[in-house]
């Protein structure tokens, strides 16, 4: 299943007409200890690049943007009890939400893992 990355450090896994979104290991490393994640409501319509979630670390609140447009179908309830999952398993168990793929063409502008790695190495 292909995984894409944004230059705002979100990842998106695409499986058929549905996608899973989270933040990258690099992002969680930058944020530090995560104490709360505000997730979007199921049914919320997200725009590509628009606000999707908020991550609260000890130090700051940070916005998480939607990599593509679509409708939220599920939010990761595990993060309510254990937001530190985003630190310990950012690209697996610490996923944020699932969504429909409104326009598959929007995936074209995103990076693949090689592209993202090169992007991060240059930061």
């Amino acid at each position: 299943m292909p995984r894409y990355f944004t230059d705002e450090h979100e990842w998106i896994d695409v499986e058929g007409d549905s996608a899973t979104v989270g933040i990258t290991d690099y992002a969680q490393e930058q944020l530090g200890d995560i104490v709360f994640v505000e997730l979007p409501q199921v049914g919320a319509m997200l725009d590509k690049g628009g606000d999707a979630a908020v991550v609260e670390s000890v130090k700051a609140a940070s916005d998480v943007y939607s990599p593509i447009s679509g409708e939220v179908t599920e939010a990761n309830g595990a993060l309510e009890d254990d937001p530190a999952l985003v630190n310990s398993s950012p690209e697996e168990e610490g996923w944020f939400f699932r969504m429909t793929i409104g326009d598959a063409g929007e995936l074209d502008g995103l990076m693949d893992d090689k592209g993202y790695k090169a992007f991060v190495d240059n930061l």
């Binding site: 450090h9 979100e10 940070s62």
Partner: protein, 391 residues
């Protein structure tokens, strides 16, 4: 992903815009110890090493070493080291009783403007031949300008910018420093001493900004690394950054200048009247006294416009600086700093609220991104202070 504009990261406070930040004497040492450096108060400062929560917890259970060399270390002396003249000059600017401060004793005070606004908060120490002032890094250049403008010509102001300042904080700080400097273990809270450490002059003050027992140690920059190495060689000590310093001081209920106190607030509204010496409330003779007297009368009659309080929030979502405080539909205040308390496992905040809603136990709400978070007015400190006041 990006930082909100409403965030309150210690690493972003007071950064100096375009001016490229200065390097600390321990810059390479911090990097070698894995620090993430950020611009703050005109310096590249370590915000964290292994992680803010780990460093925070370690400070509460053992001891941490903080580099706070960005802070301004100043000396105020009179002609021929006339301490009375220096005290008199300082008392014209600070609301504390400086003249009655005995050698080796220190006091928390403020630089006030004519309206009673807080230009800065500071520590003043009777260092024998002069008074030592430690002021906030982000304010030090303004403080120096203010002091130069208002101190009489015969008073000498010295900026000890060749000194580093290291803070050793935590319940094991006294055992650790006591192994290097035995007399330091017996020093009382808010006292200071000079020590010649193998030829390195140290000014050791039993004080800090974490609520824990500990020290702030002034050391010539060229010897800062030797001192830092000697302290972390003890496995009870780890380096900690500005991030943990901010969460620790918030739990300790200690205000941060530029956020919880400023020229827009005064010591009475900020609930810091303990630092307004009783005698000088009556005798006055300091900048801002008139305004302070008026605020004190208002506090007496419970008619202050607003008052600094602590807030304990329900849930896990923090209310940060700028969040508005409500009772029902009425806006009654504003959060000036807030975050997640690692020790309590819940969010805490400081806010200014109308006195009618400032009583301990009052139920309030903080608005964050359109959501109302239940909050209760709490006494401060949120986590008890553990200062050493003698056996």
């Amino acid at each position: 992903m990006s930082d909100d504009s409403t965030t309150q990261s210690a690493g972003e406070q007071g950064s100096e815009g375009d001016a490229s930040p200065e390097r600390l004497a321990l810059n390479d040492w911090h990097r070698a110890h894995g620090a993430r450096m950020v611009p703050f108060a005109g310096y590249e400062m370590p915000i964290q090493y292994e992680g803010i929560v780990a460093e925070h917890d370690w400070t509460r259970e053992s001891a941490s070493l903080f580099d706070v060399s960005h802070m301004g270390q100043l000396g105020v002396s009179g002609p021929d080291d006339d301490m009375d003249a220096a005290a008199k000059a300082l008392e014209a600017l600070l609301p504390g009783a400086i003249g009655s401060l005995k050698p080796g004793r220190m006091r928390y005070s403020f630089l006030l403007d004519e309206d009673g606004g807080i230009i800065d908060d500071l520590m003043v120490t009777n260092a024998g031949e002069r008074f030592g002032l430690v002021v906030n890094g982000a304010c030090k250049w303004d403080d120096i300008a203010h002091l130069r403008e208002h101190l009489p010509d015969e008073i000498t102001l010295t900026h000890y910018d060749e000194n580093a300042l290291l803070a050793l904080q935590g319940p094991k700080a006294a055992e650790v420093l006591g192994a290097l400097v035995p007399e330091a273990a017996d020093l009382n809270f808010m006292s200071a001493m000079y020590h010649d450490w193998d030829g390195v002059p140290l000014w050791i003050a039993r004080a800090g900004y974490t609520g824990e027992d500990g020290y702030e140690i002034a050391v010539p920059s060229e010897h800062a690394e030797k001192l830092a190495e000697a302290l972390v060689a003890d496995n009870r000590v780890k380096p900690a950054g500005l991030g943990a310093r901010d969460s620790l001081r918030l739990e300790a209920g200690l205000p941060l200048h530029g956020h919880d106190i400023s020229t827009e607030t005064d010591p009475v509204s900020a609930d810091l009247t303990f630092a307004l010496s009783k005698k000088r409330r009556e005798t006055g003779g300091y900048a801002g006294h008139k305004a302070i007297a008026a605020r004190l009368a208002e506090a007496e009659g419970n008619t202050l416009a607003r008052k600094r309080v602590g807030l304990l929030l329900d849930g896990r979502m923090p209310a940060r600086e700028g969040a508005e405080v409500f009772v029902g539909t009425a806006r009654v205040g504003r959060v000036t700093s807030g975050g997640f308390s690692p020790t309590l496992g819940r969010p805490i905040a400081m806010a200014y609220v109308e006195p009618a809603h400032a009583a301990i136990g009052t139920a309030l709400e903080c608005e964050v991104r359109g959501r109302r978070l239940p909050a209760t007015v709490s006494s401060m400190p949120f986590v008890p202070h553990r200062y050493y006041r003698g056996k």
